[in-house]
């Protein structure tokens, strides 16, 4: 299937390993991406908070680009997804959309309201199908206990996220099992990673990060997986600080969703850019590779 690919800022900035892994896995999955190189940042909710019209205009511009191509937008970030879904809901109001379109007119964009927005995770389950994903597994993640970490905006608010599919809050578990791994059940899976307050209240942000990792670890996780690179910035990038803020040892490697899929498809950790991680997945993966 053809998709308008919106990688988001972090995949092109602080998480180059994510961008690289997505590239590797899309082809075998039969997803043909056309990257929206000229799309702006979604504003991550921060712009919406400041000036909703501005956020809606920038996202409306992106939606119009995809609409022109006749493709759904594929995101790889929970925060981008949530921000876009909220903007798109507001842009269903015709009168308001006309005001936004006025701002886009100089560039000759006009959004009609018809672009679908889907996270890669949703596409895998709903469009590609887990059966096909399972068929591509070369090295099942057998024996690997993987804790899913969704990122708030893939599960809340359900009024926006569900779109008639309340089981979306179990997709990661289902995918992990399709890849041969064992999904860890723990309360933190759908909680906040703490990233949104990390520059405003660093201690609180780090405590949230640390509590979720500790929770996953207590429930037996070898690694965690997240479909949100902002969560990754905290869970991986600041895990050391989070452990200190909480006063407990952590040391749980955090994979981006496409990296976990890539591993099961037979790509190597270095192909998947894992040398960029701050918590090195090497030891855990070596243990699992030996077990296979």
């Amino acid at each position: 299937m053809d998709v308008a690919y919106y990688p988001g800022c972090v995949a092109k900035g602080g998480a180059p390993e994510l961008y690289r892994s997505v590239k590797l896995i899309l082809e075998p999955l039969g997803i043909r991406p056309t990257e929206l190189f000229d799309a702006a940042c979604t504003g991550a909710g921060v712009l919406t908070e400041r000036n909703p019209l501005l956020a809606d205009a920038l996202n409306g511009r992106t939606f119009a680009m995809a609409e022109r191509k006749g493709m759904p937008i594929m995101t790889i970030c929970s925060t981008c997804t949530g921000t876009m879904l909220a903007c798109n809901a507001r842009l269903q109001d015709g009168g308001y959309r006309a005001r936004v379109n006025e701002l886009l007119a100089p560039e000759k964009y006009e959004y009609q309201g018809g672009t679908a927005i889907k996270h890669l995770l949703w596409m895998l389950v709903e469009d590609v199908g887990l059966e096909r994903v399972g068929g591509l597994v070369r090295r099942p993640l057998e024996g690997l206990r993987v804790a899913p970490f969704y990122g708030c905006y893939l599960v809340r608010p359900s009024a926006l996220v569900d779109e008639g599919r309340p089981d979306r809050e179990r997709y990661l578990e289902r995918l992990i099992e399709t890849l041969g791994g064992q999904a860890v059940e723990y309360e933190g899976a759908r909680k906040c990673c703490g990233f949104p307050v990390i520059t405003m209240n660093r201690t609180n942000g780090l405590k949230m990060t640390g509590r979720n990792i500790a929770d996953a670890k207590e429930h037996g996780a070898d690694i965690m997986v997240t479909p949100c690179p902002l969560c990754h910035l905290n869970l991986d990038g600041q895990q050391e600080e989070a452990a200190r803020a909480l006063g407990v040892p952590l040391g749980v490697p955090i994979l981006h969703l496409p990296q976990l899929i890539g591993l099961a498809f037979g790509f190597t950790p270095s192909q998947l850019g894992m040398s960029h991680h701050l918590v090195r997945p090497g030891a855990v993966l070596a243990r699992y590779a030996q077990a296979v």
């Binding site: 092109k12 000229d38 909220a86 307050v197």
Partner: protein, 347 residues
Amino acid sequence: MDVTLSVQRHNPDANPATWWQDYTVTVPDHATVLDALLAVRDEQDESLTVRCSCRSHICGSCVMRIDGRSALGCKTKVAEALRRGGAEGRVRVQPAGNMAVLKDLAVDLEGFFGKVRAVQPWLQPVGPEPEREYLVPNEAMLRVRDAMACILCGACVSACNSLEVDDRFLGPAALAKAWRFTEDPRDGHDRDRLEFLSSVPGGIWDCTHCFACVEVCPKDVKPMERIIELRRRAMDAGFTDNNGARHSQAFRDTIAHSGWLDETKVAVRSVRGPDELLDWVGVGARSFLRGKVPLRHKAIPGALRVTAIVSAAERTAAGSARGGAAAGAAPHGAPGHGPGSGGGSGA
């Protein structure tokens, strides 16, 4: 219908430990979780403490966690809980979160009401009193009506992710109340309220945007969206000497400049000064060594267009807003005012 309730019990006066106790009861198909708990208390175990009064989601007494989700016991049907949770005809019931347990499902609400009181939830008009009642335009009250529907049940507080790590946070219910008074045309103290809310420890900038309060509120108050509006109004009113407002400004500036986010710049510009920046040196250095700090931030091809949109949207917002607030930019009647609302399908 038979249901097994696994109830997390606690009697801190007698025993510091909590324990789980299972009760199986027969209830009618339309029974709520509260009905089932009351049946247990009547028929099997009168030591089980449950708080309730109206049994029809009006009084706000019966908040609890049902299969981990904060909710009113009297608004959650047993059948619905079984369908959702589904583990072998069993429903897990715990006391509300983020509040101390007094006994079983009764929690201490002192802190909760203390925070509501802290935002001074009463009208404080200025100027001479009118001869008769205060006259208010209908639209102004329609705007605050949803927030006025709050029944102070504490479900939002029970679910709040920020409160889990910081007890000082005023929390969703109190902040939604505060919003309601800053929006009321009869109140004359918006500025003082906004100043207090943006500077007090645990104020508006400590919300972590987790949407938990929006998700669980039985009255659709959407506390997080009120907090978002409070932040916007506080910034517009000039209360910008805080990391939240600095972060917002830095975010806007990098997008206006290159079309997308320059994470390093945003991080550096969001903190108060060199002392706070020190906290970031460790993670900055480690990220740099692992190739996670881009050396160059290249603008998107249409960056100039984005800059133009930013200016135009800001002009419109400033022109159409009440008191210069950008809040006027999106129509209040439009579906989903605020980032979270709107039940519309994105597809």
